[in-house]
Symmetry: C2
Subunit: 338 residues, 2 copies
C-alpha cells in the first residue's frame, strides 16, 4: 500500500537489515525502524512494533534469516522467536517455512514466504469482495489492514478491494481496547485509501446492530482451529455474539497459514495475557503533538488483560482465504487446505 506516494510493505529485508514500519508510532508518525540483531526482532514483536499475525510471521521468518546470517544457531533462534507471542500461529508457520539449509537458503525462503503471504492477502481481499454489496456497512475489529498482513490485509483487504471496485463501503472501525489498534491503524489506513469510516467503542456494536446500522462483520484471525473455532483479538467474540443475535453475517478473513489443523478446537488455543498496564494507562499525543502515556484508571486498581478470545465456529458464516470462502467445519477446512 502507499504512504506519501511510496509503496510499502509492513516488513522488508534491506541489505542484511530488517526494516519495518514502526506500528507503535502510527497514526502519529510514520517512521521506518530497523532490526539488526535477533534481540531487535524479538523486541519489535513483543512491544508491538510489528503487529498482526501474518506480519509477525514474515518478521519471524526474516528474523531467522538475520540470526543465521549473523552466525547464530538456527534452532536456537527458532526457539527464541517461536516463544515471542503464543497465540498467533503464523509465527510458527513462517519459521517452519524458512528453516533448513544455510543462511542464504533461509533468506531466500523468507523472501518466498513474504511474497506468498502478500499474494495470499490480496487474494483474500478479492474473494471477500464477492460477499460485499454496494454501500455495505461493514464492522471490522483490530488491526486487519496492510500493516497487519505485510500488504492488503485480512479483513481490511476485503474492504480495500470493495472500495477499489467502486462499491463505496462504509466501515465501522471498532477501536479495540486496550491497545486501540482499531482507532490507530486501520482508521489511519482507511484515511490514506479514502475509505469512508468512523471509529466506535468496541461495546457499541450490539447497539448499532439493534438499530440495523451494520450489514456484515469481517474480522481477522490469529489462529483458526481445525474445527473452525477462531482466536482473534479480544472483543471479536462479543461482536460475533451481537451479530448472531441480530442476524448479521459474521466472517473471518485470513490467509490459509492461519488455519492450524494441529489445534483441534478453540479450547486448545493458548490465550496470551498481557500486562495490566495496557488497560490501566493509554498512550496518545497531547495538544503539542508529544506522545504521552496517561493513567486512566483508579491509581490503586489492577486489571486483567486477555489479549485474544475464541469465537466458536457456529457463530462464523464462513472463513475467507486466498482459495475462496470455506465453511468452518473439520471436513470443509481439510478439503480447503488440500
Amino acid at each position: 500500500m502507499q504512504v506519501n506516494h511510496k509503496q510499502y510493505r509492513a516488513v522488508w529485508w534491506d541489505n542484511g537489515v530488517i526494516k519495518y514500519v514502526d506500528q507503535r508510532l502510527i497514526p502519529y508518525r510514520f517512521e521506518v525502524a530497523e532490526a539488526r540483531t535477533l534481540s531487535d526482532v524479538v523486541d519489535a514483536i513483543i512491544t508491538m512494533g510489528v503487529r498482526g499475525a501474518p506480519t509477525i510471521g514474515v518478521m519471524a521468518a526474516y528474523g531467522l534469516a538475520l540470526a543465521t546470517s549473523n552466525g547464530g544457531n538456527p534452532a536456537a533462534a527458532y526457539k527464541t522467536l517461536a516463544e515471542t507471542r503464543p497465540t498467533a500461529v503464523n509465527l510458527k508457520v513462517g519459521l517452519d517455512r524458512v528453516m533448513g539449509g544455510n543462511a542464504a537458503n533461509i533468506l531466500e525462503n523468507a523472501r518466498r514466504f513474504d511474497d506468498s503471504e502478500v499474494a495470499a492477502a490480496e487474494a483474500v481481499g478479492e474473494n471477500g469482495n464477492q460477499l460485499i454489496s454496494p454501500n455495505a456497512r461493514i464492522l471490522t475489529h483490530c488491526n486487519t489492514g496492510w500493516l497487519a498482513a505485510q500488504d492488503w490485509g485480512t479483513a481490511a483487504a476485503v474492504i480495500f478491494k470493495a472500495h477499489h471496485a467502486g462499491k463505496k463501503p462504509f466501515v465501522f472501525v471498532s477501536e479495540t481496547r486496550p491497545r486501540l489498534q482499531g482507532s490507530r491503524l486501520p482508521a489511519w489506513e482507511m484515511t490514506n485509501e479514502g475509505v469512508d469510516h468512523v471509529v466506535i467503542p468496541d461495546a457499541s456494536s450490539a447497539f448499532l446492530m439493534s438499530r440495523s446500522e451494520i450489514d456484515i462483520v469481517i474480522a481477522g484471525a490469529d489462529r483458526i482451529a481445525a474445527n473452525g473455532d477462531t482466536a482473534n483479538k479480544i472483543g471479536t467474540y462479543s461482536h460475533a455474539l451481537a451479530a448472531k443475535a441480530h442476524g448479521v453475517p459474521f466472517y473471518i478473513a485470513a490467509p490459509k497459514s492461519t488455519i492450524d489443523l494441529g489445534t483441534p478446537t478453540g479450547a486448545d488455543i493458548e490465550i496470551e495475557e498481557r500486562d495490566e498496564s495496557e488497560v490501566l494507562s493509554v498512550r496518545g499525543v497531547d495538544e503539542n503533538g508529544v506522545l504521552r502515556t496517561v493513567r486512566v484508571a483508579s491509581l490503586t486498581s489492577g486489571a486483567r488483560n486477555p489479549a485474544f478470545d475464541v469465537t466458536p465456529a457456529d457463530l462464523i458464516a464462513g472463513i475467507i482465504t486466498e482459495s475462496g470462502v470455506v465453511k468452518p467445519t473439520v471436513e470443509a477446512m481439510h478439503a480447503h487446505l488440500m
Copy 2:
C-alpha cells in the same frame, strides 16, 4: 460513603449553594465543587461533574430549588434542566417530585427526594445482596456506586452490602469506554471500601464468561421501560448477550424512580449521542500527576458515540429495586410499583 474518614453524598445543599463531588477529577483528585447558579448546575450535569442517573435526579431537584431561590421562574428552570440529558428518567422524576409551591417548598421537597433516593439505594443493595453467594465473581459496568446514586449506589450497592456481609465478592469492573467511568469511579470506590476487584476491557466479558470466570452480572439503569427493556450505559447490552450465551444470570439494580411506565418499550427510549471527541481522545494523568487529554485515534478519523444501549427484557433475570426483585414484565412491574 466515606472518603478520608468523612461521610459524603454525591451532591448536597449547603446554605443556598449546591456542593458536589467533582466526578471529572476522580480518581486522581477528590475535590468538592460548587454550583451557585442554574447555569452552573446545567454545566455540571452536561460535562459530567455529576453522573449516574439517580445522582443527576437529585442534582436537578436541588437545581430547581437553587434557581427559584435565586428568583428564577420554576417552569423555565424545569425545562432547562429537563433537557440536559435526554436518556436518564430520574432527572424528570426528580424535577416532578419537587415542582410546586414557593422556593422554600421546592427546597424542602428536594431534600425529601434526596433522602428517599439514599434510602432506596441502600435498600437496593440489601435486596440485591440476597442474590449473592459467598465468593461470588460479579461483573459490573459503568458508574454504579455511591457517586452515581447519592449514596450506596445501584449495582455497586449490592456489592458493598455483600462485602459488608462478609461474602468476599470479587468484582470485574468493566472499564466503560469511552469515558472510562468504570475504571475511574467504582474502581476507586471499591479500593476505598476494600472490595477485591480488577478492571477489564468492556469487550473481554464474553471471553471471561467462556472460561467460567464470572458468576453473575449486575448493571444499573438510566431508564427502564414499562415492559422491562432497560437503557443503560453503552456496553451493557453486550454484557447481557454474553451472559445469555453462557447461562450467567444478568440483573439490573435501580431505584423504582428509574422505571418509566410512560415509556412502553426500549424502542421508545431516546438514545443520546455524545461528542465524537470522547472516543477519539482520552483524559488521564501523566507521570507527574498532571491531568492531560491525549488524542488516541488516527488524526483524520471521526467517531460515533452513542452513550446508551437498550437491553431487551428477555435477557434480564430480574430488576432489583428498593422493594425487592421484580421480573421484567409489564404485569409484574405494574404490581411492583403499586
